[in-house]
Amino acid sequence: MSDDSKQIGNLPNDKGFSDEDIVKSHVELSKTKHEPTANFLLAPLVFVFVFGCLIFVCSIQLSHSTNSFQLHPPVEIVELSAEEKESLRLDRKISSGEKIFAARCASCHQTNGLGIEGQFPPLAGSEWVSADSAVIANVILKGLKGEIMVKGKKYGTSAAVNMAAVPITDREIANVSTYVRQAWGNDSTEVFEDEVSRLRDESSDRQDQWIGSELRKMFSDSFSQ
């Protein structure tokens, strides 16, 4: 190649090419075909070889790291049995309930569900919690006032639960009730959203908070003690 360029390149003008020469000589260069040589031309061979290697490396890299052009990174897919699905659903419901409880209930009833003696009744082991699921749902829906007995102690002389001030959805009520009924050693049944909806409809006319004795009478069967 360098022979080529010498023929065309080393013009008498020692000061460099004129522009015309540059264009013409390079156009000439791109038109010339290589004359047949006895040996292989090394450079193109090396280039082809390296190019081949690169394409190989690139395609390996591509197939490894593009994640099959999916939008999301790979997630392990676990096939769950019906029971596992059910327990997963319940876990989620309870953990959602736990969050709601922490945000909206724990300030009085405490995170440990023990309440404050003399002021806020406990939820852990409370017969009000383990009674019919409608009791707790109703209390959350409308609030509760008046003196009540919880675990043998008297409460309700001061502030009363009134959740109506801040809207809460049926699903949230179902979740938080389920959490309360199954946390801290409580072991009562799940509360379902449609049940809460029904109770909301039924009590929609009610303006006041529930009164403790009234609720206790309505669901007297389910109060175990």
């Binding site: 360029s5 460099g16 264009v23 791109s30 490396v57 790291s65």
Partner: protein, 467 residues
């Protein structure tokens, strides 16, 4: 150096345009140098000018990049590519008035854009931070200039084209396409979510690869044979190199998104294409260096060529380093570190600017008929070299330190990671001072040649124009 008569005619036709673009490029270069110093100083002392809201580090850094790329880069691209196209086409530059008017609009748009950034109207999209209000003006003025460049090319004497023409034409045409795509995707018909980032990253990085880089490569493909008086060695590879860049570069730029909140294929494709970029880089460096090393003494003697070869060497080295840093295993350490600064400065200072300096030193005496003192050019070369090397080494070593320390979660951020890279920021501050000084010398060189006597210049030029 006396040129042929037709060359002289061409040079005379290009004089107004070249002088205009070059002198405004010089002003932008100084602006960017000043902003770079302020930004660097702010990184060594956060209280430096801290009470001025329009000078926050975030704004200054962005303003500097914009002033450099659009101001200095844009204007010097117009100057150099118009002249090289005219010379290679053996055609006169026509529509000088339109070119100057478009240039004025371009410069005003950037001025207002930078003021907008400092006034707090920054968009946050990479290399598109200037407020949207100035985008139309930029696009329109750019299209006028490109159109007139194509007119020059269309009136060429020889139908066949050669490498410098491909690179320069492609760069001139790619920019508006990129700009329109980004404009559409970010403002007119805005994308949601991280798609915005993909788009602005693609635009910002492509700007370097498809606008600055091809112009500098084109200039090198022209200057090396023109000064050495020999054809490009293994010229048959050039066409392969050109199409490789055209096909691969727009894909490779998104590897910076590695690990981010985008589908994995985007950075993966970017990485793979970056690896493939080894090819065009090898082609260009073979072409340039094989030719230059046939006559290395002459390269050393000719200052313009010295600048150009520094630029091409820098291109080769930086591009290979870029390939290595795009590999996921390495990117894990270097991503988001000041290695980014290394890449940017390597491209715009070490490669693009150096080649443009060479082109200017080659063209200016021919156009104006006045020679720049060799000592001044030489001083510019050595200070640039020193400044660029200092800057790049500091960013490179600092960036690696940054990445390695950040990767150790037990080290607290500011009191350990950032504190250990502060010495490097100090070095970059001095490097920017040296560079600013060196660029000041360059601009003085250029202005003294363009305006040996400012009062005579305009009247003399008017006479020439009326001939």
């Amino acid at each position: 150096m006396p040129a042929d008569s037709p060359d002289k005619v061409i040079d005379r036709s290009a004089k107004l345009v070249f002088s205009f673009f070059l002198s405004s490029a010089g002003l932008w270069l100084l602006t960017a140098a000043l902003l770079a110093y302020v930004a660097a100083a702010k990184l060594t002392d956060p209280f430096f000018l801290a009470s001025y809201e329009f000078l926050t580090y975030g704004k200054i850094k962005v303003a500097q990049a914009n002033a450099f790329v659009y101001g200095w880069g844009g204007n010097s691209i117009f100057a150099v590519s118009l002249w090289i196209l005219a010379r290679l086409s053996q055609a006169e530059v026509r529509g000088s008035v339109f070119l100057v008017v478009a240039g004025v609009i371009w410069n005003l748009a950037i001025t207002f854009g930078l003021l907008g950034i400092m006034d707090g109207h920054m968009s946050g999209h990479e290399m598109l931070e200037m407020p949207t209000e100035v985008w139309p003006a930029m696009l329109i003025s750019y299209l006028i200039i490109t159109f007139l460049a194509l007119v020059i090319h269309r009136s060429r004497q020889v139908r066949e084209t050669i490498a410098p023409q491909w690179f320069i034409l492609a760069a001139l045409l790619w920019f508006p396409a990129l700009f329109l795509i980004a404009w559409n995707g970010l403002e007119i018909n805005p994308a949601r979510g991280t798609l915005q980032t993909v788009l602005s990253m693609w635009y910002g990085q492509s700007l370097v690869w498809l606008w600055l880089t091809p112009v500098a490569l084109g200039a090198a493909y022209y200057l090396i044979p023109a000064i050495l008086g020999r054809t490009i060695d293994k010229y048959y590879l050039a066409i392969f190199g050109f199409w490789c860049i055209a096909a691969l570069a727009p894909w490779s730029v998104v590897h910076h998104l590695e690990g981010g909140p985008v589908p994995m294929w985007i950075p993966a494709v970017g990485t793979v294409m970056s690896i493939a970029m080894v090819f065009p880089i090898a082609v260009a460096s073979t072409n340039f260096h094989a030719t230059a090393f046939l006559d290395i003494g002459k390269v050393w003697d000719s200052l313009p060529l010295r600048f150009v070869i520094f630029g091409t060497l820098s291109y080769t080295v930086s591009s290979y380093i870029g390939v290595v840093f795009s590999l996921p295993a390495v990117a894990k350490i270097t991503q988001f570190t000041i290695i980014n600064e290394f890449h940017f400065n390597q491209r715009v200072y070490g490669f693009f600017s150096m080649i443009i300096f060479g082109a200017v030193y080659f063209a200016l005496p021919r156009i104006t008929g006045r020679e720049i003192p060799k000592a001044a050019k030489s001083f510019h070369f050595w200070t640039s070299t020193l400044g660029v090397l200092m800057l790049l080494l500091a960013y490179l070593i600092g960036g690696l330190t940054h990445g390695v320390l950040a990767g150790q979660p037990s080290l607290p951020w500011s009191s350990s990671v950032i504190q250990s890279i502060q010495p490097y920021f100090l070095i970059t501050k001095f490097a920017f001072i040296i560079l600013a000084f060196s660029q000041f010398v360059f601009v003085v060189n250029v202005w003294r040649v363009i305006f040996p006597n400012p009062f005579v210049y305009f009247s003399a030029n008017n006479k020439e124009a009326s001939v």
